[in-house]
Amino acid sequence: MTTTTTTITETGLWQAMVEARAFDQAMCRHNGHWHEARGEEAVFVGAFAELGPDDVVAPHFRGACAVALQRGSSPATLAAGVFGTDASSSGGHWRGDICPAPGPRSVGMFSGSLGTSVAYATGAALHLSRTSPGAVAVCGFGDGTANSGIVAESLNLAAMLGLPVVYVCQDNQYATSLPSAVALAGERVSDRARALGIPATDVDGNDVLAVRDAIGEAVARARAGAGPSFVHALTYRMGGHYMNDPETYRSPEEVAAWAERDPIARLQDQLVARGELTADDATAQVRAADERMEAIVAAAKGASDAALVRATSPYAEDLRSAS
């Protein structure tokens, strides 16, 4: 049985967000194909912070590496996966940005198509309900992905079968250029879950404590056998959809207004005010994380991928004969 009590301190949550951002920002500097997650850390750190080893996670692609970090993956291995170099855990066969640490307890995107991982998390919950009472599946997906048909179908199945799954909509207010305010018809995306009888909450997705608490309640409900829940976390994507996004679809003023609500600064201010962290210590920790991730990511970028073709893998023969 996995625990339902709080296992991570608030300082620990702050550190996890700082680490996540340090990795993310190093990738922005070194990888033109990266999808920046700055500003959304409270959602994916808060949502996946308190899970046990028996639980299944299926994070949204934006922030997936941060969830893997939080669950113990080494940043060097993650970075090798993102660049597709020799130390990649998939042997270079698949993208480490959207599928960083796949395993029986961690699901990613196995193509470039959004939405399916929500069904996979739901299916994993079906398995857990039959084999590991008390374990849960938590899955994240974007506001854009919420409009994919397979998400609606999965929610209904989960409600019908009373599955132990928590759906977390990481609403950063855009699907590339399309605002969620336009694309998500109806008042709130969480109403879609309510219509199915799934308990749903709307939280401030820039407040990691609020996210953690909302997920905690939902997870407790699932562990107790009371079925699925839905958490809608409203946040903001501070960077472009991808590197060099012209961002013609939003105003610099809008972005600046959200900068004021930075999730890391927000918790840091609280911790400093409570005397649990000093401003100097915070600055030193942020710098240390940045320097560490910068070194790891820069080294990973320069690494070779030449050994992958020779490596033993289910496909090595085929790849050799094709070369």
Binding site: W94, G112, S148, G149, Y249, V309
Partner: protein, 330 residues
């Protein structure tokens, strides 16, 4: 005449069709003020957005294509910009199983004049390379075109929009933003017609998409050795222009098919089946050069091992043209 990239030519073809025919509309993700993924609809929002004919879609591919099939049956001529061809897999009941069957099942009383645009191929994007073309070829009635020049990009897009049945337009990401060339907007190209990109007498290389460009480069290498390869750009993957390929191979005496898509059920397999199905024993040897039957790998080194290169094509052509005595081929 004006000079355009393939991407610009496709946009021009859509703009011309939308100007000529009010029943044409466009739906796709990020095709509004954003200008389309990789600028695939640049300028169309300014020209046609206010008329409600450029519709920014949510991430709902099955419904994007499903509604387009419905609108097409009712009388519109929709174009769906599906962004990437890998998303075709999300749309196959409305597109492949049903949309492509409607004309047949109604004796032509009801038609589905629908175009689905889809980007594919290895290239600068480092992802979304899958063309899913083998899956498309499995459905009777579904046409698939794949231009490799700005002129064909324009003319095939116009032909696809004019066609009364569903047509998938595969747009190779390594070619879309390549060199500009003159485009004659009055030139018609029929769907289903291949084209000889480079004439040659010693062997025929049939290819589509990026493989055409690589085959032309390989042909230049081969010419340095005195081997003249004829390069056939299939252009249309369904229907296939088997007659042109056969005539070329009969003249040159050998056929090499170079493909970027999966083996098994892709254009190469379809071409071989069609050639054999034509009846007589083939009077020329055939060799297929295509990726192994694995998912498209991610790492750059694996990707280049996966997709036939210029050197792979040249080597295969040499071996086919002048087999080394004593070697055993499997």
């Amino acid at each position: 005449m004006s000079r355009m990239t393939m991407s610009e030519a496709i946009v021009a073809a859509i703009a011309d069709a939308m100007t000529a025919d009010p029943s044409v509309y466009l739906m796709g993700q990020d095709i509004g003020v954003f200008g389309g993924p990789m600028q695939s609809t640049k300028g169309l929002w300014d020209s046609f957005g206010a008329q409600g004919r450029v519709i920014d879609a949510p991430i709902s591919e099955a419904a994007m294509v499903g509604t387009a099939v419905g609108a097409a049956m009712a009388g519109s001529r929709p174009i769906v910009d599906l962004m990437f061809a890998e998303f075709l897999a999300l749309t196959m009941t409305p597109l492949g199983l049903e949309g492509s069957a409607v004309a047949f099942r109604t004796r032509g009383e009801v038609t589905v004049p629908l175009v689905v645009r889809a980007k594919c191929g290895v290239g600068p994007h480092r992802g979304h390379a899958e063309s899913c073309v083998g899956m498309l070829l499995a459905f009777p009635g579904l046409k698939v075109a794949m231009p490799t020049t700005p002129q064909d990009a324009y003319s095939l897009t116009r032909a696809a929009i004019r066609d009364d049945n569903p047509v998938v337009l595969l747009e190779h990401m390594s070619l879309l933003h390549g060199a500009r060339a003159e485009v004659d907007r009055t030139l018609d190209v029929r769907l289903g017609a291949a084209d000889i990109r480079r004439p040659g007498r010693d062997l025929t290389i049939a290819a589509s998409g990026l493989m055409v460009q690589r085959a032309v480069r390989a042909a230049k290498d081969l010419a340095a050795d005195g081997v003249e390869a004829e390069v056939v750009d299939l252009r249309s993957l369904a229907p296939l222009d088997t007659a042109l390929v056969r005539a070329s191979a009969e003249r040159t005496g050998a056929l090499l098919v170079a493909e970027e898509s999966w083996p098994g059920s892709g254009p190469a397999a379809a071409l071989c089946a069609a050639l054999l199905g034509d009846g007589d024993r083939l009077g020329f040897p055939v060799r297929l050069l295509q990726p192994p039957p694995t998912p498209v790998p991610f790492a750059a080194s694996l990707e280049s091992a996966f997709v036939p290169s210029v050197a792979d094509i040249a080597d295969a052509a040499r071996a086919l043209h002048a087999p080394v005595k004593g070697t055993v081929t499997a």
